[in-house]
C-alpha cells in the first residue's frame, strides 16, 4: 500500500462527539487517560444540538414527590417492561448528579422561582422532570460539554505545555473500521474529510458514541451523521446488537412544505399545553388511551385541562402518552380520513396559551415554523405527523460498565441498546447520554489500567491496509451507480416497508430488496478526488446503513407482537411471552444472524415498586408468582445517590 496512513497513539478513543461521546471523553481524561474524540462533523455540531425538550432527572425541584423510584417506574412503563432494568435503575438514580454537574461547568438552565433548575412536564413522566433551556436544551448541553473539554485543554496547556496533550478533538474525521488483535480492540481506522487522508488510532479501548440510524429513513428528524456507523462498526468487530426492531417514530414532525418534512416539533408543545386535533376539530387522543395506561390518563377534556394547574388531583392529558402511542394514534386518524390537507393532524397551542407564553417557552418552534412554513404558531395550529427519531435498539452492553461483547469496546448513548426497552420517553435521551457516557468513559479508563499490566494489543499493518483498500474501492471503480441513488432507494424502502406499521409480507419483501440494494451498493462508483468528497463519504456510510437496516428488518420480522416502537398489524397485541425475549443480532461472515436471548428477571425490590395489577399487564403468570414472592420478602428500599 503506497498510501500514507497517519498514526496516533491513545489510551482511549471515543468515536462520536455528541453528548455521550464528550461526557465519556471528559471522564476518561479526568481519569488520567490520553483521550481522542473523533467527530464526524465539526466540534459542537453533533446531533445532540437538535434535542429540544429537556433532560429528565428526578431532582424534585418542581414537585418534591418525585424520586428515582418514580422515574424508574415511568421509564419501564414507557419501554413496556423490555428495558434492561439495571440500566433504567442506574439512569434514574444518577441523572440528577449529571445535570448538577453540567451546571457546575457553566450550563444555564431555566430557573424556578426559588432559583433552582426548572423542570417541565413531558410524555410519560409522572411529575415535571425535564431540566431545560426553552426548547434548545440539547444545544446548551453540547456547548457546555464542548466548553468543559476546552477548560480541560486549558489546564493541560499549563501542566503539559500543550492543550492537546491529554484530550484532542479530531474534527470531520470518520472511522470506517475497528481493528482487533487476538480478539481485543487494538485501534480504529478512518479518513479525514478535509484531505481524504487515512488515519489510524492505536488504542486498547474504544468507546462508541455515534448515535442513531435515522438517515436510513426518508422522513426523519435526524441529521446527516446518523448512518448507524457505530452499530455497524460493532457488528463488524464481532459485537452484538440488541432489539433492533424498536425504532421510534416521534409523533410530531413537520409535514409541510415537503422540503422540511420530518423536522422535529418538540414534545414540549404538548407538555406546555398544546393539544392534537383531527380535521373535524376533535381532540382525538381520548379515544386512544390503551388499557395499560388507562388508570393514569384523563377521560375528559375538563379533567385533562385541570391537570396543568392541579396535577395532584387530576390525571394527565392523553396527548402526553408515550410517543409510540401518540404516533400510532395520529396514523390511525389520518388513515380514517380525518387528517389534514397534507396528511397529518393539527397541533394547536395558539388557542390554548397566550402568545407571549408561547414565544418564551417555545422560541425555536416559533422561529422554525415562521421561517420554514410561513406559519405563526401563536395564531394558527401546526400540521404534524410521525417522523423517524430514535433507535431504541443498539449495541448490547453490560449495564454497569457499558462494555460490549468485544474486550476493549464500550458503547454509550443512542448507539447502545437496552436502556429504553421498546420505546424511549422524551427527555430520557439527554440524561442517558450523561449517565452512561460517564460510565463508559470510566470503564474504558479502568480497562486500560488492567490491560497495561501486560502488553497492549497492536495493529497489524495488513489490517490497516485492508481497511484502506475497502475505503478506496468506490473511488477506484468506474461506471457504477451513483451512491445517492442507492441511498434514496434505501430510504424509500425502509419508510414504506419497515416503518411505523409493519407486516410479514412487507418485511419479507424488504429483506429481499435489501439484498438487491447491498449488491448495488457494492458496485457504486464515485467521481472526483479524495478531498472533502461527499459522494465518497456517502459510499462508506451506505455499507453501515445497509447492515443496520438488515438487522432492523430481520428483527422486525422475527418479533411476532406489537410493543413500543414495533407495531405489527398481523400481531397487534403485546405478548408476555415475547416480553421475555431479547433479539440479538450478530454477524456470521457477511450475513447478519438473529438469536433469542432471555430477558433478565427484574430484581425483587424493583418489582415491588409496581402494583400487581399493573405487572399483570406485562408479565406471565409464572413470572408474577416468582417475582412477587421475592418482592414481598425484600421491600423496595429508599436509596440515596
Amino acid at each position: 500500500m503506497t498510501d500514507q496512513i497517519e498514526r496516533h497513539h491513545y489510551d482511549v478513543v471515543v468515536i462520536g462527539a455528541g453528548g455521550s461521546g464528550l461526557r465519556a471523553a471528559i471522564e476518561a481524561r479526568t481519569a488520567g487517560k490520553k483521550t481522542a474524540i473523533i467527530s464526524k462533523s465539526l466540534f459542537g455540531k453533533a446531533h445532540t444540538v437538535m434535542a429540544e425538550g429537556g433532560c429528565a432527572a428526578a431532582m424534585g425541584n418542581v414537585n418534591s414527590r418525585d424520586s428515582w423510584q418514580v422515574h424508574f417506574r415511568d421509564t419501564m412503563r414507557g419501554g413496556k417492561f423490555l428495558n434492561n432494568w439495571r440500566m433504567a435503575e442506574l439512569h434514574a438514580k444518577e441523572a440528577p448528579d449529571r445535570v448538577w454537574e453540567l451546571e457546575a461547568w457553566g450550563a444555564l438552565f431555566d430557573r424556578t422561582a426559588d432559583g433552582k433548575i426548572s423542570q417541565r412536564n413531558f410524555g410519560g413522566h409522572e411529575y415535571p422532570r425535564l431540566a431545560h433551556v426553552g426548547d434548545r436544551t440539547g444545544l446548551e448541553m453540547i456547548r457546555t460539554l464542548q466548553q468543559r473539554v476546552v477548560a480541560l485543554q486549558q489546564q493541560d496547556a499549563i501542566s503539559h505545555g500543550d492543550p492537546e496533550a491529554m484530550i484532542r478533538v479530531f474534527a470531520e474525521t470518520t472511522i470506517t473500521r475497528l481493528i482487533k488483535d487476538g480478539g481485543r480492540i487494538a485501534g480504529a481506522f478512518g479518513y479525514v474529510r478535509e484531505t481524504g487522508g487515512f488515519v489510524l488510532f492505536e488504542a486498547p479501548a474504544v468507546v462508541l458514541a455515534t448515535g442513531g440510524i435515522g438517515k436510513s429513513y426518508k422522513v426523519t428528524s435526524n441529521s446527516w451523521e446518523y448512518t448507524g456507523d457505530g452499530h455497524a462498526l460493532a457488528l463488524l468487530a464481532g459485537a452484538t446488537l440488541l432489539n433492533m426492531e424498536f425504532v421510534q417514530l416521534h409523533p410530531t414532525g413537520m409535514i409541510w412544505p415537503p422540503s422540511v418534512k420530518g423536522i422535529l416539533v418538540t414534545e414540549s408543545v404538548r407538555g406546555d399545553g398544546g393539544v392534537l386535533r383531527n380535521s373535524d376539530g376533535q381532540r382525538f387522543m381520548f379515544n386512544y388511551v390503551p388499557e395499560v395506561f388507562r388508570a393514569q390518563y384523563a377521560e375528559t377534556e375538563e379533567e385533562a385541562d385541570r391537570w396543568y394547574t392541579d396535577p395532584d388531583h387530576n390525571r394527565r392529558p392523553p396527548e402526553l402518552l408515550p410517543r409510540d402511542e401518540v404516533a400510532r394514534s395520529i396514523n390511525s386518524e389520518v388513515k380514517a380520513g380525518r387528517g389534514t390537507e397534507h396528511g397529518g393532524v393539527f397541533l394547536d397551542i395558539a388557542s390554548r396559551r397566550p402568545a407571549e407564553v408561547i414565544l418564551r417557552r417555545l422560541p425555536s418552534m416559533y422561529h422554525q415554523f415562521k421561517e420554514l412554513a410561513d406559519v405563526d404558531i401563536t395564531k394558527e395550529p401546526m400540521e404534524v405527523g410521525p417522523t423517524c427519531h430514535y433507535v431504541m435498539g443498539g449495541v448490547e452492553v453490560d449495564p454497569d460498565s457499558q462494555a460490549a461483547k468485544v474486550p476493549g469496546l464500550f458503547a454509550a448513548g443512542e448507539v447502545s441498546g437496552g436502556m429504553h426497552g421498546s420505546n424511549r420517553l422524551g427527555g430520557n435521551s439527554l440524561s442517558d447520554l450523561l449517565v452512561f457516557g460517564r460510565r463508559a468513559g470510566r470503564s474504558a479508563a479502568e480497562y486500560v489500567d488492567a490491560v497495561d499490566g501486560a502488553a497492549r494489543p497492536a495493529v497489524r499493518q495488513a489490517a490497516a491496509d485492508e481497511a484502506a483498500a475497502e475505503a478506496l474501492a468506490p473511488l477506484e471503480r468506474s461506471g457504477g451507480e451513483n451512491p445517492y441513488e442507492v441511498h434514496s432507494a434505501l430510504q424509500q424502502l425502509m419508510t414504506d416497508q419497515v416503518g411505523l406499521i409493519r407486516n410479514e409480507g412487507e418485511l419479507q419483501s424488504a429483506l429481499a430488496e435489501l439484498d438487491k440494494l447491498r449488491a448495488r451498493a457494492a458496485q457504486v462508483s464515485v467521481e472526483g478526488g479524495r478531498a472533502y468528497n461527499p459522494g465518497w463519504h456517502l459510499a462508506q456510510d451506505l455499507r453501515n446503513m445497509l447492515l443496520v437496516c438488515d438487522c432492523v428488518a430481520q428483527s422486525a420480522l422475527e418479533r411476532q407482537e406489537s410493543r413500543g416502537g414495533h407495531t405489527r398489524e398481523d400481531y397487534p397485541d403485546m405478548s408476555p411471552i415475547w416480553r421475555q425475549v431479547n433479539l440479538v443480532c450478530s454477524l456470521d461472515g457477511d450475513q447478519a444472524r438473529l438469536r433469542h436471548q432471555p430477558v433478565a428477571a427484574m430484581r425483587d425490590d424493583l418489582l415491588g415498586l409496581f402494583e400487581r395489577s399493573e405487572l399483570k399487564k406485562y408479565l406471565t403468570e409464572e413470572e408474577l408468582v416468582a417475582g412477587l414472592a421475592g418482592a414481598a420478602a425484600t421491600p423496595a428500599q429508599e436509596e440515596t445517590h
Binding site: S41, L108, D110, E225, S259, Y532, G535
Partner: protein, 261 residues
C-alpha cells in the same frame, strides 16, 4: 410550483477555482440547501457542502448567497424570483478547503484562549441558586449555534487577516460577555477583553447582529455593554488610585496560558 433555477456555484480548492453554472429544479417550499443537495445528487456528486441538521440548529451550512452570509438550510428559495441567478460562494473570511467548505479553525483557536467558566469552588454541584431574571441575558448569548456568520461578515477581519491575531470576532467577544454576565462566574475578563481579544476594534456597525440567524442582539446586548464594563474597569478612579499606591493587587484574569501557540 417547480422551475429550473440558474445557479452559479463556486467550485475549487485552496484559493483556485471558478463559478460553475448549473440549472437545477426547484420545488415548492424548498430552501437553498435542498437545491444544492439536488445538484449534488444529480449533477455534481463530489460538490463539497458542509451541513448537518438541516433545521437551523447546528450552524454548519454557512455560506454566502448572492454575497450575503446565510445558513443554506434556513434560506427559502421563495425569497428569490425564478428569473434570478443565485450566486453561491464559500465564507469569504476563512480559507477555502473545497467548493463551499471553509477552514473555520480560527474560531476554535480563539475559543480556547478565553478563560473558562470559573465558579466559586465552595459552591457544590446542586447548590447553585440563580434567578431567571439574572440568567436571561447570558442565555440569549448561549443561543449561539456557532455558524460563524458574524465572524464572516465582521469587517475587522473580513478583508484583514492581519487583524486575526489581535481580534477574536463578535462570536468570542460575546462569549466573554456571556461569562462576565453569568451570575455564578467569579473571574474578571474585562482587561483581556480589550487587550487580548480586541474589543476596541469593534466600532459597533452591527453587521454581526444583522446576519445572526438566531436573532441575537450581539452588538446591543453583548458588545456595547462589554465596552462599558471595560471602560468602567480601566478608568475607575478608585482602581487607578489603588494600583498607584500598591494597595490593590491586579486581580484580572489572564488569557488562558499556553493556548496561543
Amino acid at each position: 410550483m417547480g422551475y429550473q433555477a440558474a445557479l452559479r456555484v463556486w467550485r475549487g480548492d485552496h484559493g483556485q477555482g471558478e463559478l460553475a453554472e448549473y440549472a437545477v429544479a426547484v420545488n415548492d417550499g424548498e430552501v437553498v440547501l435542498d437545491v444544492l443537495h439536488r445538484l449534488q445528487a444529480t449533477q455534481a456528486n463530489d460538490l463539497a457542502i458542509r451541513w448537518n441538521c438541516k433545521a437551523g440548529k447546528c450552524g454548519s451550512c454557512s455560506m454566502e448567497i448572492n454575497g450575503r452570509p446565510r445558513l443554506a438550510c434556513m434560506t427559502r428559495m421563495s425569497i428569490f424570483t425564478p428569473e434570478e441567478t443565485l450566486t453561491i460562494t464559500p465564507l469569504r473570511t476563512f480559507p477555502v478547503i473545497r467548493d463551499l467548505v471553509t477552514d473555520v479553525s480560527f474560531n476554535y483557536a480563539k475559543a480556547r484562549q478565553i478563560p473558562s467558566f470559573t465558579p466559586d469552588p465552595a459552591v457544590r454541584p446542586g447548590e447553585f441558586r440563580m434567578q431567571q431574571v439574572d440568567v436571561n441575558r447570558p442565555q440569549e448569548f448561549r443561543k449561539c449555534i456557532e455558524c460563524f456568520l458574524c465572524q464572516d461578515t465582521c469587517h475587522v477581519i473580513r478583508d484583514h487577516p492581519e487583524n486575526e491575531r489581535a481580534f477574536a470576532g463578535p462570536r468570542f467577544l460575546m462569549r466573554i460577555a456571556e461569562l462576565e454576565m453569568h451570575p455564578a462566574d467569579t473571574a474578571d475578563r474585562r482587561e483581556i477583553a480589550q487587550d487580548d481579544f480586541g474589543l476596541g476594534y469593534c466600532n459597533i456597525t452591527k453587521c454581526c447582529t444583522e446576519v445572526c440567524p438566531e436573532g441575537i442582539k450581539i452588538t446591543d446586548n453583548a458588545l456595547i455593554p462589554m465596552k462599558e464594563r471595560v471602560v468602567g474597569r480601566k478608568y475607575d478612579p478608585l482602581v487607578w488610585l489603588g494600583s498607584r499606591i500598591g494597595r490593590r493587587p491586579r486581580h484580572d484574569t489572564p488569557a488562558a496560558g499556553g493556548t496561543k501557540g
